[in-house]
């Protein structure tokens, strides 16, 4: 019974999203653990506002916001939003991908105050710029760090360290 409700809901959601944002939605995946939609970066703010403020949808809780880096894709950097609706425990995942040379995306801080620090963390780790963010600066790393550590090309260990021989430490 629960499975049918999930399918019903995801068909309803897919329908509503596709009718409202026909050309901005690149893909919708209904077979993952929750409905996942890939959206163009220009429309991301409107999509999230629509999901939050439309009465029949009402996804009023931003669970989390994170970045991701796929070096093999054309649009390498991505931002992933997870939204949640308490009334019937539905979740939805929205992804948007950005080019490496201009990784900027509109902020959602005006919709969800929770996004403030989450976007700062994503900027700190991936260098993704959020247009309109009130205070976009590094939050977890030191201010003088000059690279974005979570991108795939950078190592985990401290590159300036001299006393550990890489041959013995399996790097």
């Amino acid at each position: 019974m629960r499975r049918d409700k999930k399918n019903l809901d995801s068909k309803f959601l897919t329908g509503k999203l596709k009718t409202r944002f026909t050309e901005d939605i690149i893909a919708i995946d209904e077979h993952s653990d929750m409905l996942t939609a890939v959206v163009k970066k220009e429309a991301i703010h409107e999509v999230i506002r629509f999901l939050k403020e439309n009465e029949s949808l009402g996804f009023t809780f931003l669970t989390t916001l994170c970045g991701i880096h796929y070096p093999d894709q054309e649009l390498q950097l991505g931002v992933i939003y997870h939204l949640h609706r308490f009334s019937d425990n539905s979740r939805i995942r929205i992804k948007t991908f950005l080019p490496l040379d201009n990784p900027s995306v509109p902020t959602v801080t005006d919709l969800f105050s929770a996004a403030n620090w989450m976007e700062r963390e994503t900027y700190d780790f991936y260098g993704i710029l959020f247009e309109g963010h009130p205070n976009l600066k590094r939050i977890l790393n030191v201010e003088y760090l000059d690279y974005f550590p979570m991108r795939k090309e950078f190592p985990l260990e401290d590159p300036t360290r001299k006393d550990k021989d890489n041959r013995f430490f399996g790097r």
Partner: protein
């Protein structure tokens, strides 16, 4: 703000009242707080980057160190996330054992938080009494996994060893003994005139603002929203049990204290129910790719030897996919967003850390209050630095 009327006070990062290292630069008008500027990251250990370089069973040690006051919840949450990716179904016995451990950990987390609220308002005795009870829980953890604080308990697919009769006896003794201490603790603080004057209407937040800020856990329930991951999306057979979710009204410090206190009583009830009805069965699920076979089989059977070799040398990959799984940790919804590309380590692992998300609401909560109220608000929000910075 270079107005001469205002004082700038630096609270932290090393300060006896901030339990954990984070910095708040307060702008004060006399004793009233005008604004706060927060700096965190003083214990940033790059968990998400480390997780991309460690096999799935080694990441459990990282999850220990996030909310280190209640490590079993983090460990078991991570194991459940990997099991969701693999599509593994655990037996009822495993589920009930997990519930017992998670509720024990939740009790210890709330005990620390509440006694520390007492310490910050001047009542040190409660803290000393409560830490004695934590020692008893540490003894239970030691019997189960060998460690006191950073437990690394359980395996992907269940547990490494069953509950021995000694563990069960010890848990029953703990369940019989804790109510007396809790009642003493409550007599000290709960209806204490001084404590109530210091905590009622201190650091309030409304339910709408709390939801907008992404609050979860006792902080959100104190504001009036009854969202609990154990009830809305039950995991590990929580839906077999009947327990109440305490909810506050104003979202102030007193409500947070009371909500946590009541959750300890509910957890005690849950543990007793789970232990009384613990079903028979295996304590590990059938996941040969991730669950190490028992040593007797490794020395005697070829297949077990090969699985052991493959697991330890790290030649086994998880299926391709992405999942999001969340559990109700001591502070709220602890989420794991796991993207796997088929390799032996995750491609991307993002921890949804509740402390990080609700701590950004602190300036709004303490604005207009006095400095001592700010200290109490901070400690009642239960900010654990390991989870804040991650």
């Amino acid at each position: 703000m270079s107005d001469n009327r205002y004082t700038t006070l630096n609270l932290g990062p090393t300060h006896p009242a901030t339990h954990g290292i984070f910095q708040n630069v307060l702008t004060l008008d006399g004793e009233r707080i005008i604004d706060t500027e927060q700096t965190i990251g003083y214990i940033h250990r790059a968990f998400e980057k480390i997780a991309e370089r460690r096999p799935y069973y080694q990441i459990t040690t990282l999850t220990d160190r996030m909310n280190y006051c209640s490590s079993p919840i983090n460990n078991i949450g991570w194991h459940m996330a990997v099991e969701k990716l693999l599509g593994v179904k655990t037996t009822k016995r495993i589920d009930y054992m997990r519930i017992i451990l998670m509720e024990l950990a939740r009790i210890t987390d709330h005990l620390i938080c509440n006694s520390v609220i007492g310490v910050d308002s001047g009542a040190l005795t409660g803290f000393i009494y409560v830490f004695q009870e934590r020692e008893k829980v540490y003894e239970i953890y030691e019997l189960l996994c060998g460690a006191r604080l950073t437990t690394n308990v359980g395996r992907i697919g269940g547990f490494e060893r069953d509950f021995s009769p000694e563990v069960i006896t010890k848990i029953y003794e703990f369940l019989d003994h804790l109510p007396k201490v809790l009642r003493q603790f409550e007599k000290l603080l709960l209806r204490n005139r001084i404590f109530m004057d210091r905590t009622i209407n201190v650091g309030p937040i409304s339910a709408e603002r709390a939801m907008n800020y992404g609050f979860t856990g006792p902080n959100l329930r104190a504001a009036g929203v009854d969202y609990d991951v154990r009830v809305t999306s039950p995991y590990s057979s929580y839906d077999d049990f009947d327990f109440a979710i305490p909810v506050g009204t104003q979202g102030d410090t007193y409500d947070r204290f009371c909500v946590r206190q009541e959750e300890v009583w509910q957890s005690l009830k849950l543990i007793r129910n789970a232990l009384d009805n613990l079903p028979e069965g295996k304590y590990f699920a059938d996941v040969p790719e991730f669950y190490l076979p028992p040593k007797e089989e490794v020395y005697n059977k070829m297949e077990a030897l090969i699985w052991h070799f493959k697991i330890v040398m790290g030649e086994i990959g998880a299926p391709v996919g992405e999942i999001y799984h969340s559990v109700e940790a001591g502070n709220g919804e602890l989420g794991f967003y796991l993207v796997s590309d088929g390799g032996r380590t995750p491609y991307r692992l993002h921890f949804r850390r509740p402390c990080f998300i609700y701590y950004q609401a602190l300036p709004e909560m303490i604005r207009g209050g006095v400095l001592s109220d700010a200290i109490l608000t901070m400690s009642s929000m239960n900010v654990i630095a390991g989870e804040l910075d991650g």
